[in-house]
């Protein structure tokens, strides 16, 4: 990612702009079409699966798994994260980490509220 390269003093990189001006990756339309079809398929799948009576909490697991896969496809391809720098991956990962912390700490309270002391 050339963002880091840009922090060099101008004298070091100014002379040869081609060094920094790496051409970005242009995603081809056929990839967009494939992702689009996968997303439509995922939508059809999740609607169909919702009417099946899976055991236990599996209905929620199936619905959320499909949603996560769809969201990942959008992020990686439509939002170009697969072709971008690691810095953006780090930013997204940090968001997911804080989201997980928020859920985990809140649920550690609600989940255990009705627990009886063991003695």
């Amino acid at each position: 990612m050339s963002l880091e390269a840009g922090y060099c003093p101008p004298a070091a990189s100014g002379g040869s702009p081609t060094l920094n001006e790496m051409s970005e990756h242009i995603v081809q339309p056929r990839i967009y079409v494939v992702i689009f079809l996968a997303l439509m398929l995922g939508t059809a799948l999740t609607v169909t699966a919702a009417f099946f009576d899976f055991p236990g909490p599996l209905n929620a697991v199936v619905a959320l798994t499909i949603a996560v896969v769809k969201a990942t496809l959008v992020v990686l391809f439509f939002m170009h994260v697969r072709y971008g720098g690691k810095l953006i991956v780090l930013v997204i990962a940090s968001a997911l980490l804080w989201l997980a912390i928020m859920f985990a700490i809140t649920f550690s309270d609600y989940w255990t509220r009705t627990w009886q002391p063991p003695f």
Binding site: T43, A63, A67, I88, V91, M102, T106
Partner: protein, 250 residues
């Protein structure tokens, strides 16, 4: 050393290049990173509401199933498809700019906006249905407080609320608070997205974009796709979970 910092670019630099960037590529990447940081704050913002949803679904599963099953799954699925198509046309708008096709960019942007408006139109129809069935929570609508008609067993009237065992009207209202908060915030983001697209469309129309300078299209696209992702989670959580229990004890 102020003079030294205020470097002007040499001849031939793109007019859209700001003085604090080395070149167009660096400027584009910095913009993209900035947009992602903003989207992280959006993830945390919506995350709070998703947390509230998860918490109350965990506490009152029966009421959430009853309320969820009252939503129109056809309209919800249709809107999901509409947003996915709009994300596709948005991606194509970015591609068209990257290869320098102004006409295609404009067409893709207009299609994206039409689809976004379609989504909001369908959402308005759904909101009106909820109004008709007295499902707007609390006293948000003056003189028309939350007061759905509860269906008796065997009554299949879709305008009445079908409570499954263990569900109460009060907890169904809780679902509708969350439903309107989440879909309302999402719809607001769609409206803002349409505003952004209007600006981008005008810029494209005036020929501001080129393969060298297409960052505004790309960054607006990131926002548009993000709003799509929020809906990708909202649709199954609000409309689908509990569908397999439809008719149980109805």
């Amino acid at each position: 050393m102020a003079e030294g910092l205020a470097t002007t670019h040499e001849h031939g630099a793109h007019p859209a290049l700001q003085h604090h960037f080395e070149n167009m590529e660096q400027q584009r990447e910095a913009g993209t990173l900035g947009m992602w940081v903003f989207l992280v704050t959006e993830i945390m913002f919506f995350g709070g509401m998703f947390l509230a949803y998860t918490l109350y679904r965990y506490e009152y599963p029966a009421a959430f199933v009853s309320a969820s099953n009252h939503l129109d799954i056809k309209l919800g699925a249709f809107n999901t498809a509409v947003l996915i198509v709009s994300s596709f046309t948005m991606a194509m708008a970015v591609y068209s700019t990257q290869i320098g096709r102004q006409r295609a960019t404009i067409i893709c942007l207009i299609l994206t906006m039409i689809l976004g408006a379609t989504f909001l139109g369908v959402k308005a129809v759904e909101y009106y249905d909820k109004y008709e069935d007295h499902l707007i929570p609390g006293r948000l609508i003056p003189g028309r407080q939350f007061d759905p008609v509860i269906a008796k067993p065997g009554d299949n009237d879709p305008h009445k609320l079908h409570l499954i065992e263990g569900a109460t009207k009060e907890n169904v209202q809780l679902f509708y608070w969350i439903y309107f908060a989440m879909t309302g915030m999402h719809a607001l983001h769609m409206v803002i997205g349409l505003g952004i697209m209007t600006v981008i469309l005008i810029m494209a129309w005036r020929g501001k974009f080129s393969p060298e300078y297409h960052a505004p299209v790309e960054i607006s696209g990131l926002y548009w796709h993000f709003v799509d992702i929020v809906w990708i989670f909202l649709f199954p959580l609000l409309y689908l979970l509990g569908r397999h229990l439809e008719g149980h004890g109805g």
